[in-house]
């Protein structure tokens, strides 16, 4: 079969595709040749006229709507506007060989982070040995003193981990963030795949795409595996802040696809250190809680007393070993972006291995040398708060005005512990259909992987969520800020 080059498809959605030579294109090589693992896909898309493509796009949107994959935007009134996340039909493809590298890297990282969490809440060896500064760990807003000396079942803290990866222009994968609190997005991965199977069933026949639909089963197995000791047939629940939460769809989706109860804090109560849910048949004991409520809100007797989302006394039940909370409280101490800097050292320290995945060079504004560098190079850096997610509060130096930079310098100087800075990584780009142009263009993408850690088993979802920044030139892929997503295929060639 002849190999396809860009420009060989006529009257198609690729007609005006422009390649920026400075960027790493996932699909097309610098010489214009379509990469081997994208050949079939581009050939297929290359046959589609714009109108045909738009029809498929419409079909996909309806599929999302019918699956109920919407997120609601609320105001003061009762009316919620329901929207679907922008979805791009062209899948992101990762070869099995490349995936193996990612998977090993992600598992290695999670293992080390889990050991780190155990250590900082117990012997604190890594700090005593001077590998990670104690000051840094203890000053994290997410260091949870209630977890000191607590032994979670199976020694597992980070049951569910969402590692964010990017591919730099050097072609290497870098870890951008380890989301080990309550990473979200997996429901979109599963519904993206459902939709793709409906729209392009023939493409699945010609590609050996690794399945992902076993995720709910894997998740349930993992959840059950960390039940308190002595519970053979645990009652597991998903705990949501409620239907006004923007990720409620995902909470409900996960509960339904695992076949377990979706509860809110007000459905639960603690009596004598055991957790029960209130049912029409009276109290029923709960053994494992996959909570999608932040640490600060889970127990008003221990954390924020004004929290209406939590369950008074639940931390006591947890510490007594009568209920398992997933992820364990206090995991946020490991996804503080200033702690991120030390993850390669953390891996070497606990595992005695070299990190498989690279870290992005990161400057801690708290350190004088780094701070000075950041102050004089902010225009070339991304500056981020250490304890926020969703792309909030960050400054991309190259895209900011002088006034914005000056203002941000003041903010950073006012709270140096809170900020880190990184060189602006050139995220790889992927062909993405742009509605306003009625054609494919290059857009920056990243990859959120989802991994599970159970009592005796680690699992990484094959693929994950490829997020795409839909605005031209934008590096911000977060759904809250104009990002979309793509189905992600891991294929055996």
């Amino acid at each position: 079969m002849a190999e396809l080059y860009l420009g060989e498809t006529k009257n198609s959605v690729f007609d005006t595709y422009k390649q920026d030579p400075k960027l790493f294109d996932e699909v097309i090589q610098a010489d214009g040749k379509v990469k081997k693992h994208y050949q079939k896909i581009v050939k297929h898309f290359g046959k589609l006229a714009v109108e045909e493509y738009q029809k498929l796009d419409e079909f996909a949107k309806i599929s999302f709507f019918n699956q109920g994959v919407t997120f609601a935007v609320y105001s003061d009134t009762l009316k919620g506007v329901e929207r679907i996340f922008p979805f791009d039909l062209m899948p992101r493809i990762i070869t099995a060989l490349e995936w193996e590298h990612i998977e090993l890297g992600v598992i290695q990282r999670n293992k080390a982070i889990n050991m780190f969490l155990y250590d900082i809440y117990h012997e604190k060896r890594i700090m005593r040995d001077g590998v990670v500064p104690a000051q840094l760990v203890f000053s994290s807003n997410f260091y949870n003193r209630e977890m000191i000396g607590v032994n979670p079942p199976g020694g597992i803290y980070t049951h569910i981990c969402g590692t964010d990866l990017i591919r730099h222009k050097d072609g290497e994968y870098y870890v951008l963030e380890d989301n080990v609190r309550t990473p979200s997005g997996v429901s979109y991965v599963l519904s993206n795949r459902e939709t793709m199977k409906k729209v392009f069933s023939n493409l699945f026949l010609s590609h050996n795409v690794q399945p992902i639909d076993d995720y709910p089963q894997q998740l349930l197995e993992m959840i059950s595996s960390v039940a308190p000791d002595g519970i053979d047939d645990p009652t597991c629940v998903v705990m949501s802040p409620g239907m006004y939460n923007s990720a409620y769809y995902e909470h409900s989706f996960l509960a339904q696809s695992m076949g377990i109860q979706l509860v809110e804090g007000r459905d639960l109560f603690v009596d004598k250190n055991f957790v029960y849910m209130k049912t029409i048949r009276g109290p029923q004991r709960v053994d494992v809680i996959y909570r999608r409520v932040d640490d600060d809100f889970i127990d008003p007797l221990v954390y924020r007393p004004d929290s209406m989302l939590g369950v008074p006394g639940i931390m006591g039940a947890y510490k007594a070993g009568n209920v398992t909370i997933i992820n364990a409280p206090g995991t946020g101490a490991a996804d503080d972006k200033a702690v991120y800097i030390y993850v390669p050292e953390i891996i070497r320290y606990y595992l005695g291995e070299e990190p498989i995945l690279k870290n992005v060079k990161t400057y801690r504004c708290e350190l004088q040398e780094d701070f000075d560098f950041v102050m004089s190079n902010m225009h070339n850096l991304v500056v981020k708060p250490v304890d926020e997610s969703g792309g909030y509060g960050i400054l991309i130096g190259s895209k900011a005005s002088k006034a914005e930079i000056d203002k941000f310098k003041k903010v950073v100087s006012g709270n140096r512990r809170k900020y880190i800075a990184q060189p602006i990584m050139s995220l790889s780009v992927h062909s993405t259909f742009i509605e306003s142009e009625a054609n494919f263009e290059q857009r920056h993408i990243d990859l959120r992987t989802f991994s599970l850690m159970g009592r005796h088993k680690q699992f990484v979802l094959k693929g994950g969520l490829s997020r795409v920044a839909l605005k031209r030139g934008s590096l911000v892929v977060n759904s809250s800020q104009g990002g979309g997503s793509k189905d992600t295929w891991v294929i055996e060639e």
Partner: protein
């Protein structure tokens, strides 16, 4: 040797029915080297069984849960406590250099971080941060703590009802007024800023003496004196905590020691009162 009878009583009234409630009491004298409970009893108007557990710092909390409606609640705790005569230090146990070596070692920070970490209630900002009493090179920890005790004691005038449970050290210092917990928070903020671990203590005072704050639950601090251990200091009365002080619990700040916590399913008005009776025998 002193023998005390302690009685803590609290009453709560609600303007409407509360649907469900859970209360935690942190009012039980702890057992340590200097004190021991000889007998104790507690009562609650719900006649519910009391659930006991130990908090983060190892102190026993009494929890009562009421699963159905109520409009009032009363709780009483009584104990007999035996208190040993304490031998209080009059100077540092170690030389200044030895003290420094201990306080500045990384291990020491790791082991005492809970009482060196700033908390929202014990952080001084702006102008107030500059009012911190600095420890000079040639001042021993003990000397410094005594100076700080005097310094903090003089900073506030003891005044009731101007501060609340949620008042920070910073706010109290600006007001120049407050009660025992405000003295304690300011003391803690300053001691910690000098690298001396310091913790908040709540407890009872012998009501037979003319101490400030004896009518209620009292608050003082414990600071870490190298070579000695935790030393009880009461900036409200500018005293060291001796056998007139019956300790209940300690923590990073007031929030770890509040005598009563309640989470209620209701949005109504409530009125809470409590009384403390301490008699020496």
């Amino acid at each position: 040797m002193a023998l005390y009878t302690i009685e803590y009583q609290s009453q709560s009234q609600y303007s409407e029915e509360v649907l469900e409630g859970i209360f935690e009491f942190n009012v039980r004298p702890c057992s340590d080297d200097s004190q021991i409970i000889i007998e104790e009893a507690s009562k609650n108007s719900f006649m519910e069984a009391i659930f006991q557990f130990k908090n983060l710092f190892g102190f026993q909390i009494n929890r009562i849960r009421k699963a159905d409606k109520f409009k009032e609640f009363a709780y009483t705790y009584r104990a007999k406590v035996q208190k040993k005569k304490m031998r209080l230090p009059s100077k540092s146990a170690l030389s200044i250099a030895e003290e420094r070596a201990e306080l500045e070692s990384p291990e020491f920070y790791i082991d005492h971080h809970l009482f060196l970490r700033k908390s929202p209630l014990t952080t001084l900002k702006g102008d107030n941060a500059s009012k911190v009493l600095e420890r000079k090179e040639n001042t021993s920890v003990f000397e410094y703590l005594m100076k700080l005790n005097h310094y903090v004691h003089m900073m506030l005038s003891y005044t009731k009802n101007v501060t609340q449970a949620s008042t920070t050290a910073d706010e109290a210092l600006s007001l120049k007024k407050g009660v025992c917990q405000d003295y304690a928070h300011i003391f803690i903020a300053m001691a910690r800023s000098q690298g001396i671990p310091c913790r908040y203590v709540s407890g009872y005072l012998n009501q037979g003496k003319k101490f400030q704050g004896a009518a209620f639950m009292h608050a003082w601090v414990e600071a870490y004196l190298p070579g000695y251990g935790w030393l009880g200091i009461d900036p409200t009365n500018e005293l060291l905590a001796d056998d007139n002080y019956i300790k209940v619990s300690h923590g990073a700040d007031y929030l770890d020691c509040s005598p009563i916590k309640g989470i209620l399913k209701s949005s109504c008005e409530n009125k809470n009162t409590y009384q403390v009776k301490v008699t020496a025998q």
